[in-house]
């Protein structure tokens, strides 16, 4: 319980959060608009959405998760590596596994 107080409290208007919320909404809206209202080839749309997704990730890390403010590098570095490992496994693995579709189609 006590340790909760040690967490640093922000003073004043939470600009960071408001900007973060706005950015994440805009990024999401662009993705929807691309998929629903444009006629680009799928490869183009997917590429742009992936880029938007990475942007979304950075917004979350910097605006909401106080990624840069913590003094606990010792925890963060391995965690980020593990997260990258999982992300690569899931995305890369899925692509590898699902290529069977082009083989049998």
């Amino acid at each position: 319980m006590e340790s909760n107080h040690k967490f640093h409290q922000e003073k004043g208007f939470p600009w960071k959060h408001v900007v973060g919320l706005f950015l994440s909404l805009v990024l999401t809206a662009i993705a929807f608009w691309l998929a629903l209202a444009t006629n680009q080839p799928p490869a183009v749309i997917i590429t742009i959405i992936v880029v938007l997704g990475v942007g979304q990730l950075l917004v979350q890390l910097y605006m909401f998760m106080h990624f840069t403010e913590s003094d606990e590098k010792a925890w963060q570095v391995p965690t980020i590596y593990f997260a990258l490992f999982i992300a690569l496994t899931i995305v890369g693995g899925s692509i590898w596994i699902m290529t069977f579709k082009s083989l049998v189609a």
Binding site: M1, I86, I97, F100, K101, L103
Partner: protein, 654 residues
Amino acid sequence: MSGIVNWAVHFFMLDEGPLIWLSDFLIGIASVGIVVALTYFKLWKWLWDNWLTTVDHKKIGIMYLIAAVLMLFRGGTDGLLMRTQLSWPNLHFLNADHYDQIFTTHGTIMILFMAMPALIGFFNIAVPLQIGCRDVAFPYLNAISFWLFFVAAMLFNLSFVVGGSPDGGWTSYPPYVENAFDPGPGENYFLVSLQITGIGTIATGVNFLLTILRMRAPGMTLMRLPMFTWSVLITSIIIVFAFPVLAVCLALLLIDRDFGSHFFTISAGGMPMQYVNLFWIWGHPEVYIVILPAFGIFSEVVSTFSSKKLFGYSAMVVSMIAIAILSFIVWVHHFFTMGAGPGVNSFFGVSTMAIAIPTGVKIFNWLFTMHKGRIEYKSAMLWAVGFIPNFLIGGLTGVMLAVPPADYQYHNSYFLIAHFHYVLIGGTVFGVFAGLYYWWPKMFGVLLNERLGRWHFWLFMIGFNICFFPMYFLGFMGMQRRVYTYPAGYGWGVINLIETFGAVLMGIGFLVFVLNILWSARYGERDVTGDPWNGRTLEWATTSPAPHYNFAIIPQVKGRDAWWLMKQAGESINGPKGIPFKPIHMPNNSGRPIIMCAFFFIAGAGFVFQWWIPAIIGLIGVVVTMALRSFEYNDHHYIPVDEIEETEAAAGRL
């Protein structure tokens, strides 16, 4: 008028025959009875103040476990219904539709609404006490997690009597579960309630990860953590990475069903197998989420009842970390038969077999812990010792399934059913029972009866083997899973009959357990010392049940098995005499979590029946209750020193 009547008859499934009428009747009677009893004994206020609004991890843990035992009863009843239907060829006790619904709700309830809450209940009961702190990192969020699970479980169970249950299996594979083949609310119940409980589980993962990393007592380094807490740490990490995948996967399927998109349909470029892929990216880590905490429980139990410290502590930790990493790179073994090709299948076959190595290391560690120990066969220990051979059978047949060409034979046969019940029952359920017998005194201040405990163990364990061992052979003989009946003449009849007999024995074992709870509540031996097993870890250092604030003074930890060391050195948990108490800072109770989750329920029902107005009202309610929390400044109180002194004096610790 008759239109409305017809709709209502269908909606409440009154056209489904006497089984549903009976359930309607029983549920109605039970609900009315509970309301009447609470009102008559004037218990509403007590219930609200002490339980519904609590943020105390010990009470939340108890509520999780009560819910889990009730769900074990519901899921077990499903199991018995299925076993009755299968006990002889060509029976018509259940029809095909009902059988499909029952295996679906059985599997879903057992995994998501029985195993998960039971284990998370133990996280709550034991972890803060084991690491010597006063609550979890986010007590308010912890209450939200519980109520999310609870409303999700209620929503899912409602499907039985309102609108119809899901029938696509606990895996809910498209294209069958798409609207074209499976219209109606059934599958939506599955998708929405798993989504809701999944949010709660992710929050639990974050909560316990932080609790263990940030709230340990001074001196409690990571390599001094009790093994159960280690298992919770690793499990929390797996939860945080795996459950979001499930959330995405379910959301996409729900969007398909509610809004007509084509992520997983056969037509319009959908990829049904992508669902299967995503489902198991979560699904395999999920099986480790439900087994690692059970491993943790066995580690505590084995070392306590062998009066020895755990053999190979670091090897245990390293194997759990290895299991956590490997659990994310094996998921294809659930769908080798999709035919992704030899490269994919060999890779995932080999990675699966690799998991047997760290698991084997753990088995040997438990055996060596017992070796030359002074073993006391208390009930908790019986479950732990029974677990080893049973889990081994499950694990070894798992390695057989990991060989892709062989899996083409075993896939979706009763061989598979036998395998996963051996790991889920022999591992998780045995672990839950071990944990219940072990921590029961800590939770309620009374011991469960040992004699009834032995009956419970032997009936359940023998019944389990009679029920599930023959299934391996039924699988070889060609019997498939998820079939509601089978013709005579294959020689399957007698084997199935024997299995059903075993299932009944398990049911009786469970009833003995219920009897034990009732008996002990009235006549059970009180736990006056707080340390009935001569325990080794800090939860045994305080009173049973622990005082609201857990520890009057945060203990100083000097090594592994902290409480054991203190007892050896003759030290008190409150440190040297004369350290003055200070007022203790505790979070306030709050009614908001349960109200917020009630809105989740309304929104969920909206998405199930595609009633958009309740869905929107529910979602707005969720956002508003969440926002209100931000304006709550008075969210804690202090326990005054004289109250602490009083409690500590009563516990004889002054």
